[in-house]
């Protein structure tokens, strides 16, 4: 790692040398996987909709049907979840593109620092979306007897299953994002000749 970081300051304008360094390749692969995880979470939750027709009354021999729909837009927490994961996946995509093709763009040498800061912000956003959606899903699954809120997962099972899948995928994406942030902060470490070599 020390040699890697030592090679970087001179090689920052030579795209082939930086992109071949193993830590950069690991970072790229992690970003790709995180992009797929967050994109999957966004898409699965955005397409989450279930319609159920239930019989509410019977007049004579003709049943009266009521059609109930459960969509993700009903709950602001799920809307925030979709938006947060959408932005996280956009961020990952942008970072992947910048890694592969964008080595010429540099602003006063602050490129790596900006990437690290953006990663931290994305982690905060994605974790916010996850937290809200998890507790909302728990409320829908178990209800809350104290507030007299009934559970809805027994009636809309598919809606709940899809939502659970999206939340799990988003947690995987969040874990990967935390790892990516740690790695990209590690890339900022300057080699210090007088002291021990950095992490």
């Amino acid at each position: 790692m020390a040699l890697d970081n030592g090679a970087k300051p001179e090689a920052v304008h030579d795209s082939t040398l930086v992109s071949k360094a193993p830590s950069n390749q690991v970072l790229l692969v992690l970003r790709l996987v995180a992009f797929f995880a967050t994109a999957a979470a966004t898409i699965v939750m955005a397409l989450n909709k279930e319609t159920k027709t239930i019989v509410v009354a019977t007049i004579g021999s003709t049943p009266i049907n009521a059609t109930l729909t459960a969509k993700f837009q009903d709950t602001p927490a799920f809307v925030f979840f979709v938006i947060a994961n959408g932005m996280a996946s956009l961020h990952n995509l942008l970072m992947v593109v910048v890694e592969i093709w964008g080595h010429k763009f540099d602003y006063k040498g602050l490129r790596l620092a900006m990437i690290a800061v953006l990663d931290m912000m994305t982690v905060a956003l994605a974790s916010g979306g996850d937290g809200a959606a998890t507790f909302m899903a728990e409320l829908g699954k178990k209800g809350n007897s104290h507030a007299r809120w009934n559970k809805i997962c027994d009636k809309f099972g598919t809606f709940c299953d899809h939502g659970a899948g999206a939340i799990i995928s988003s947690f995987v994406g969040l874990l990967l994002l935390v790892l990516i942030t740690a790695l990209s902060i590690g890339r900022l470490v300057k080699p210090r000749p007088a002291t021990l070599s950095p992490v």
Binding site: A77, A124, H146, N150, K190
Partner: protein
């Protein structure tokens, strides 16, 4: 310069300690009893898992802040503190977000799910919880600043 940086970090951490501790305490003491049509209705923070999580997260973060304030200036543990600051910011965002989601349902209800708002019956409880959420949000913003500051301090040490 290093002294100013360290002082700035210390001030931020003290403020964050105050914010998270007050969020935890205010949420923990939210409690109201109301009777609606001779049914006694009691609202506590522990009835709602989201609020419990909010209280526990803020309590943990305030203990962590308290411990970090006493860390001496030049140990190598500051790198660990930078990593923990990131984890703690994550914890705070998710707790504030979760509590806010459930509090919004409590305030406005959810027509589609057949959930009635409860703020009409226990208005003082709702105000209490809103206060705790505000303090939690302030703690979160402070912690984002602390995170940026501590990562900066670890990576670009001002001494040498």
């Amino acid at each position: 310069m290093a002294k100013v940086g360290r002082l700035f970090g210390l001030v931020l951490r003290l403020l964050a300690l105050g914010a998270t501790m007050s969020a935890a305490i205010v949420m923990g003491t939210s409690h109201e009893r109301a009777s609606v049509f001779a049914i006694s209705f009691e609202a506590k923070y522990s009835d709602i898992p989201s609020f419990k999580y909010f209280m526990i997260a803020n309590a943990v973060v305030s203990v962590y802040s308290f411990l970090v304030i006493f860390l001496p200036a030049e140990t190598l543990l500051w790198r660990l503190v930078a990593a923990f600051d990131m984890v703690v910011t994550l914890l705070l965002t998710s707790s504030v977000s979760a509590a806010l989601a459930v509090a919004q349902v409590g305030k406005d209800g959810n027509v589609r799910a057949g959930w009635l708002p409860i703020c009409g019956q226990v208005p003082k409880y709702c105000n209490h919880v809103s206060g705790a959420l505000g303090a939690g949000f302030a703690g979160l913003i402070l912690y984002v600043m602390i995170l940026l500051h501590s990562v900066h301090t670890v990576l670009y040490p001002l001494l040498d």
